[in-house]
């Protein structure tokens, strides 16, 4: 029997699914105990108990200084920035992307410029950003927008351009104006793709968030990681990384669910 036709029993499939995670955990435990045996104060691979203590400290013990539960304030700060950055990017992508996609004027004006901007490494522009926008939330949000929006705009414009020309003509024969075509034909069909492209940009957005928070902030997930990195407090960094991963995965899952729920037809199309 060919390997490609192999059929796994449900039990075997589940076991295989968990195997790499188990291996990872075991490797960690092994490495950790080896390093701790050598140097009980080793911070690189702390014992699970130290990690648990750190989680307890960050998530369930009020900070002595501020009385806040740090993990939650950090999460809240970061998520606000992320939501604002991604929200603005999505809105920009929607408006500019659709304009580029359907209006020849905007296409000529902006398409090359957006392509160009999407190639600029945003991290290198950070100093300028901070100086022109100040250090508050604005510049952090702006970094996310600059890093993420051009790509989303390009993607959406391409989606709109890829709509069959026949649909547009058909809409014209149904007496639609340019505005109505954008509103009732293009927009609804662009939205599911916009959500898809939003999902793809979650990773980069987190990256830019962490980079911006590393420079100036007084709370946030990236801020915390960079703060304790000086002490190599991996007992805090690991849970934070896990938590960010969880947040990113949930957002990814949530957005996809949202799309299916809001645009049931997009699922049907994909299934074809």
């Amino acid at each position: 029997m060919r390997l490609i036709n192999q059929q796994l029993s449900p039990v075997a499939a589940t076991a295989l699914k968990f195997a790499p995670f188990l291996v990872l955990i075991l490797a960690y435990l092994l490495g950790s105990s080896l390093r701790l045996a050598e140097n009980p104060n080793d911070k690189l691979l702390p014992a699970l108990t130290s990690i648990a203590d750190a989680v307890d400290l960050m998530a369930f013990t009020p900070d002595r200084r501020s009385g806040d539960y740090l993990l939650w304030t950090d999460t809240w700060s970061s998520l606000k920035r992320l939501a604002a950055g991604l929200g603005i990017s999505t809105a920009l992508a929607l408006v500019i992307g659709v304009c580029i996609g359907i209006l020849p004027f905007f296409r000529a004006l902006l398409a090359p410029f957006v392509s160009f901007v999407s190639m600029v490494p945003p991290l290198a522009l950070l100093p300028i950003l901070f100086i022109s926008m100040g250090l508050g939330e604005t510049s952090k949000i702006a970094l996310i927008v600059i890093g993420v929006a051009p790509i989303m705009i390009r993607d959406l414009a391409q989606t709109v351009l890829a709509l069959p020309r026949e649909q547009i003509v058909k809409a014209e024969t149904l007496s639609a104006s340019s505005w109505l075509i954008a509103l009732r034909i293009v927009l609804p069909q662009a939205l599911p793709r916009l959500l898809g492209s939003l999902r793809l940009q979650l990773g980069p957005a987190f990256l830019f968030l962490i980079a911006a928070e590393a420079i100036s902030a007084d709370s946030g997930l990236g801020y915390r990681i960079f703060l304790v990195r000086r002490y190599l407090s991996m007992d805090i960094i690991f849970p934070y990384v896990a938590w960010i991963t969880f947040l990113a995965a949930s957002a990814d899952f949530g957005i996809d669910r949202f799309r299916r729920w809001l645009f049931p037809w997009s699922q049907l199309e994909a299934g074809r």
Binding site: N39, R65, F130, S216, F226, L227, R230, Y231, S233
Partner: protein, 331 residues
């Protein structure tokens, strides 16, 4: 600049500057600002360089930095800068570590990880001087400060120069040998609060408020009272460690809690010697203004009015006025 009432101060996370954050948290900043009828916004930076850049670009009126960076960044960038407060000097906060060796001379021929062009670089240069070597004898690898502790544990790192809190972390690592530290060049790495000279001269109230804030916080944090302990614990937490860790870092810092002491240090003739070493170092690295032909390219004014370097291009000034007012209780 002209008279104004809103001021912005930037500070970054470092033991000698943590009091600024605490002063803001504890309401000391607002208290003094109100007293002078101004408002002061205090912003914390994780990234030291970025805070200086922001100040240089005009986004802030005052910033915390070292004497060397004050000369090489804002002053070299054309921003006339005055040291309002001389807060402390590094007395062991910066150190040179090596592995597999026990004397500084063993560093010869090694790669040295440090933040290039920072005070660590300066410390290395002074350290090498002290054993008759020069930078030609080692190879410098630029390494970001938050990653020093992790980097030190890798096999290919055998020599490193860094500052606190990384120094106290590295000290605890097996195999780390401290072969030189800033206590051996006492008083050369000075931590300052500097302000834009124009802003300061038009708004002396701003300088007074800064001095008032600083010395009230100093008094609080150096006191052996429960409040003092609480302040130190809070600053420790804010810098990512705890009270004990913070106090260990304080021990390696010569804090001028008493303004009179700070005035005496600033006014002493040693400062000129220190600044001469610093500008020689910067010129050697090409870090004075790009077209500089000698270390005299930028003028440095000392408290007594003497000027080192170009008198027509004075961009960096030490001024004891406000510290003196604090010492005199005139704030």
């Amino acid at each position: 600049a002209q008279e104004k009432t809103d001021f912005k101060v930037a500070w970054s996370i470092y033991v000698g500057w943590m009091p600024w954050g605490h002063a803001a948290d504890a309401g000391i900043v607002d208290k003094w600002a109100d007293k002078y009828g101004i408002s002061i916004e205090v912003t914390q930076f994780n990234d030291y360089v970025e805070s200086i850049n922001q100040y240089t670009a005009g986004g802030y009126d005052a910033v915390t930095l070292t004497n060397m960076d004050g000369l090489s960044i804002p002053a070299a960038g054309g921003v006339d800068t005055t040291a309002v407060i001389v807060g402390d000097f590094s007395d062991g906060n910066d150190a040179v570590f090596i592995k597999d060796g026990n004397a500084l001379a063993d560093i010869a021929g090694r790669d040295v990880n440090l933040v290039e062009f920072s005070v660590s670089h300066y410390l290395l240069s002074r350290a090498l001087d002290s054993v008759g070597m020069s930078e030609q004898d080692v190879k410098v690898i630029n390494t970001a400060d938050p990653d020093m502790v992790g980097a030190f544990q890798t096999d290919d790192v055998t020599a490193m120069v860094t500052w606190n809190p990384m120094v106290s972390e590295i000290e605890t690592l097996p195999g780390a040998v401290k072969v030189f530290d800033s206590a051996q060049i006492e008083g050369e790495i000075i931590d300052l609060m500097v302000a834009n000279t124009d802003v300061l001269s038009d708004n002396p109230k701003f300088g007074q408020a800064l001095a008032g804030i600083w010395y009230e916080t100093m008094t609080l944090m150096t006191s052996d009272t429960p409040e003092g302990a609480a302040a130190r614990a809070a600053m420790g937490a804010a810098s990512g460690t705890d009270q004990a860790g913070f106090e260990a870092q304080m021990a390696a810092t010569k804090l001028f809690a008493d303004p009179a002491e700070a005035v005496a240090f600033t006014a002493s003739s040693d400062l000129a010697g220190t600044m001469n070493l610093v500008r020689a170092f910067l010129f050697d690295k090409g870090l004075l203004t790009p077209g500089a032909t000698s270390e005299d390219a930028i003028g440095i004014e000392l408290p007594d009015g003497t000027i080192l370097g170009d008198t027509a291009n004075v961009k960096f000034r030490f001024d004891t006025t406000f510290m003196q007012m604090a010492a005199d209780g005139a704030l």
